[in-house]
Amino acid sequence: MRRVLGYRKSFLIRTTRPLRKPLGGALCAAAAALLLVTMTADPLLAAGPPIFGFESVGFEVTLNGKELKGAEVYQAEAAGAFLILSEELAAPVLLRLRDGQVETLNLMKVNHNSNGSVDVLAGATLAAQGGFQVNADRTGVVFMVDTQTVEMKEKPPLLGSQQAAGLKAYDPHYERTAEAYSPSDPIVEKLREQDKDVKVSVFFGTWCGACKQMVPRIMAVADRLEGSKITFDFYGLPPGIAGDPEAGRMGIQAVPTGVVFVDGKEAGRISGNGWRVPELAINNLLVNGQS
């Protein structure tokens, strides 16, 4: 789904009522009011344009080095912007990456939609906080908000045995991509009907670009096979794979790799093009011994 960055429209107010009094006094008053507003206005405040379609993403946020539990991070890819919501921050924080700007805004202008996305409404009062810097390991950015240091960065890799729910909680991208994949109904039915005890162990890395495309497909299959004799386990590996003892024991050399066990014995593996249609790969392994 393509998200669109909206633009604030300017409003032109016209009057049609005939002016009956001389303009001099009114003009003077208006000029004085304008002067007063200009002198007292905070130069760092501005009214922002609306930004629609922020979607939840899996990042963590720290404030002065301490993790902000429960912080919500949203990204509007089309606008190149991030939005951070946390009770421990005085106000929502808006990062506009393309402008290199960090701003806070009034919470009233943050609208939560029923589909889980978030919009920043038109007319939000933006308070400039300065710029940001990419952090040392290039996993996120560091910036100041009201003299406090905030860091927003990728979460550490998800390691060890996980369930699908764990991946969805780690990064909502997995859930969205899984929802977009529709496993083949006839194959799913066939898999539901088979009576062997089957376990599929999916070795993956949250740092791996291909895994972000492929693992959600098998998560969708796992959802459809819930309650059947086929169970799924997701095993997160660290970058480099080699150092992980489980990966070493199983001879995993690339991710994602799915290992299919039938009655406790390895029946075969899903790799490469097997990830096109993972339910087909599982079925082929059960029937032919080849994915």
Partner: protein
């Protein structure tokens, strides 16, 4: 009744024909291989560096000398020259090719390289595993080389005109190789061209269970319209165009823009934070992307799983 003994002397016409046919065949193999490299000399230079054959750090010079030798010998063989001073360097070159493909095969068998790191003696045109490369080289080179030795007659006077022609054609071929990167030959010199399916753009051979094709990596490509840019994420022309690509990407609902890159995870991350792309950046194996381009960026349009257009740069004029 007596049977006539086998006679392999030049007086037997069929033996002479066999020898000439073998030498012409060997010459054609050399020329086809040289054409693949001449159309994409940058890849050949990269390969020379990867094989550590860049003596004194002069990879470009080594590449052009090797290419010149291969073309000259190919032309000499195709014109039927079977003098010892043609066949001796030909045998040396064949031995050298076999050494390279044999070494790659040995390394593959011992788990030192993966199957995509085969000898690219035919440039980016052929997808060969180390095993395939070795056995194909053996059959395509050694057998005709052996046969080219039979039925040779006496060596006469130096064929000056033929040698002059070979020299001229070799020089012309080297000029062609020098200019090739600027010539519109991407579709000919790479595996990416209109009509190719995304399921045919793969890393690894069909026999390899770990073969990964583009449609398995990005399932979205199987349906709809997608502009795909191949990039290392650090080319100045690409970085300058990111704002335009962002603008175009956000204005589209029917066509999606993708960047396919073999850049490191760190480079991708840096790009994401500094450029804030409005388009998808997808990491893909180097072995899948390298045969698709001579230089970066290169772009192509995918419609319902098939490549329908290619652009030797960014597709800005196509937007």
């Amino acid at each position: 009744m007596t049977t006539k003994p086998f006679d392999s002397s030049p007086s037997q016409p069929w033996i002479r024909v066999l020898g000439i046919a073998a030498v012409v065949f060997l010459g054609l193999v050399f020329l086809v291989a040289a054409l693949g490299k001449a159309m994409d000399p940058v890849s050949f230079v990269e390969q020379i560096r990867a094989e550590r054959l860049d003596f004194f750090g002069l990879a470009e010079a080594t590449a052009f000398m090797a290419l010149g030798l291969e073309i000259a010998l190919g032309l000499a063989l195709v014109t039927g020259l079977r003098r010892w001073w043609v066949l001796a360097p030909t045998a040396a070159l064949v031995a050298f090719f076999l050494f390279l493909s044999g070494r790659a095969y040995w390394r593959f068998e011992h788990g030192l390289i993966d199957e995509t790191e085969a000898c690219g003696c035919f440039g980016n045109l052929l997808n060969r595993t180390p095993k395939e490369a070795f056995w194909q080289d053996l059959w395509l080179l050694v057998v005709p080389l052996g046969l080219s030795l039979v039925g040779r007659g006496k060596e006469g006077a130096l064929p000056k005109r033929r040698l002059m022609l070979i020299g001229l054609l070799t020089a012309a071929a080297l000029v062609f190789a020098w200019k090739a990167p600027d010539l519109p030959l991407d579709d000919l010199a790479t595996r990416l061209k209109p009509g190719v399916g995304v399921n045919e753009i793969c890393a690894g051979s069909e026999e390899n269970p770990e073969q990964l094709c583009l449609d398995a990596l990005v399932s979205d490509f199987s349906d709809g319209r997608h502009w795909v840019v191949l990039s290392d994420l650090d080319e100045p022309t690409f970085l300058e165009a990111v704002p335009q690509l962002n603008e175009w990407s956000t204005s589209q609902s029917e066509t999606k823009l993708w960047i396919l890159t073999a850049a490191s995870a760190e480079a991708v991350s840096t790009f994401q934070w500094t450029q804030a792309p409005a388009f998808a950046v997808q990491e893909a194996p180097y072995a899948m992307l390298r045969p698709l381009h001579r230089r970066l960026p290169r772009s192509f349009l995918v419609e319902d799983g098939e490549v329908t257009r290619t652009v030797s740069d960014l597709p800005l004029t196509e937007f």
